[in-house]
């Protein structure tokens, strides 16, 4: 059955040929429809029937017409995902990289469509997922640990290796802030504080770059998948920890700082146990402040973007207003650290 909003017949024929090349000449394409997802992705939901009658649910992810600044193309993302899979990260493998399937010049790959829930409000509050939230500190820590075992001295990826990962992240933040339509003094104060309180460069690992509630797939048994790798980069592993604690990912569960799933202490403890990395409260605060500012600037820039389709206009309009929330949280964290006696140099 083909949905009412099915693509043009040319795409259907191309998709069928692509899938038959990958899965066998007798493969049938039983479903092909756009999947609502990130605004910066072109995603198709696919169902196939194999020669032996088995059904498979898949997702084809392709390069969008307009990519978000700083995001990877599918070709690079494909390599990053498979490096993470090889390192044991719970993420579906990216298969059958191809060019021109969805649009001339656009790369695409396919992955298994996993069951589960990503929606923030459900993940943080649905009673059916209470068991998953209980396991969250350990499972999030183990997933991040696996990702952070991928290092540039052991794995070659099509990503620039920074000399100083902290400086590179701060440069990226400054560049975002310079593109804002109006200066935001709270962000300026936040950046100045980050520059003043920066930790030493430290180690460089693969950083997922958008590891947060909304991009994590849960079933009642626990975390089943880490999705959306388009912001992956070489950087400081602790950047991923701070990003997960950004206030916007708590979806009303404000007391659970770690993505609305759990408190900081058990998560950091589990991460240290799994990875062997000690994480001080100061370092976590540094990367939390960084994450909140990155999203504050990003939220304003998202509203500035050329809108990709009429069905997303409304959401993009509402996003810039959230910037003040993350700015407030960044300043709250800074004021709190200033009051903590152990933060004295």
């Amino acid at each position: 059955m083909i949905a009412a909003n099915a693509p043009d017949p040319t795409l259907r024929a191309r998709a069928l040929a692509y899938l038959q090349a990958a899965l066998g000449p007798d493969t049938q394409l039983t479903r092909l429809e756009p999947l609502g997802g990130g605004a910066c992705q072109e995603i198709w939901r696919v169902e196939v029937r194999l020669a032996d009658g088995a059904e498979r649910a898949l997702v084809i992810r392709g390069d969008p017409a307009v990519a978000l600044p700083g995001s990877l193309g599918r070709r690079e993302e494909h390599e990053v995902i498979n490096a993470a899979v090889a390192a044991g990260a719970p993420t579906p493998a990216a298969r059958w990289l191809t060019e021109g399937l969805l649009r001339p010049g656009a790369w695409a790959y396919t992955m298994a469509l996993l069951p589960g829930v990503t929606l923030g409000a459900k993940v943080t509050r649905d009673a059916a997922l209470a068991g998953a939230r209980e396991k969250a500190p350990t499972q999030l820590a183990e997933a991040l640990t696996a990702i952070h075992t991928v290092t540039p001295d052991r794995v070659t990826l099509p990503l620039p290796v920074p000399k100083d990962p902290v400086a590179a992240s701060l440069d990226a933040l400054r560049e975002s802030m310079e593109r804002l339509p109006c200066a935001r003094p709270a962000q300026a104060a936040g950046l100045a504080w980050l520059l003043k309180n920066r930790p030493p460069p430290g180690e460089i690992t693969l950083v997922h770059g958008d590891f947060r509630t909304g991009n994590l797939l849960f079933e009642p048994e626990g975390l089943t998948g880490v999705l959306d790798w388009e912001f992956a980069h070489w950087g400081s592993p602790l950047e991923d920890l701070g990003w997960l604690c950004v206030r916007d990912w708590r979806f009303g569960a404000l007391d659970r700082a770690v993505g609305g799933l759990c408190r900081r202490a058990p998560f950091v403890e589990a991460y240290t146990a799994a990875s062997g990395r000690a994480v001080s409260a100061q370092e976590l605060t540094f990367w939390e402040v960084y994450g909140n500012l990155r999203w504050a600037a990003g939220a304003i820039l998202q509203g500035q973007r050329v809108l990709v389709g009429p069905e997303r206009d409304l959401e993009l309009l509402a996003i810039p207003w959230r910037a003040a929330e993350m700015e407030y949280e960044a300043l709250r964290l800074i004021a709190r650290q200033a009051q903590t006696p152990t933060s004295a140099p």
Binding site: G36, C182, A183, R184, P185, A186, Q187, A188, A189, G190, L191, A192, W193, K196, C245, R247, R250, L254, D255, R256, A257, R263, R264, A265, E311, L314, E315, L317, A318, W321, R322, A324, E325, E327, Y328, E329, L331, R332, I334, A335, R336, Q337, A338
Partner: protein
């Protein structure tokens, strides 16, 4: 002059209708209806108290910049221009290191500034210092 309801009352009523009364089956559509209600609510609050909050923000920024507040009320366009200018100058000053980023007066003033912005965009935002702690 047109009889009541005024613009604020109409927007608030439509926002309430969208948020509380309208039943939409499709979850994606239902989410977008919520976003629409949120946006209209923000516009209604802006019409009602935006001017007063702008005045408050200009006062706070003048205090942080150590300069005099403007005399008398400004027209909407002049307010926007002045706020834009004040924010740019304060940002430049902070980044140049003229004010330490953890200066208590600066942090308090900026948080008050953001609180007045949040009163428009998200009045339910929890300003409590202990949110998410420990």
């Amino acid at each position: 002059m047109r009889p009541p309801p005024d613009n604020v009352a109409v927007l608030a009523a439509v926002a309430t209708f969208l948020a509380k009364e309208l039943r939409v089956e499709d979850p994606a559509q239902a989410f977008r209806v919520k976003v629409a209600a949120h946006l209209l609510g923000g516009v209604a609050r802006g019409l009602k108290v935006g001017e007063a909050l702008d005045e408050q923000a200009m006062g706070l920024l003048a205090m942080l910049l150590n300069e005099d507040a403007p005399e008398g009320p400004l027209a909407a366009e002049d307010r926007a221009r002045r706020l834009h200018d004040q924010q740019a100058r304060l940002s430049a000053r902070v980044l140049a290191g003229d004010v330490p980023p953890d200066d208590e007066t600066l942090l308090q003033g900026l948080r008050a500034l953001l609180a007045s912005e949040l009163a428009l965009s998200n009045p339910r935002f929890d300003l409590d210092d202990q949110v998410g702690e420990p």
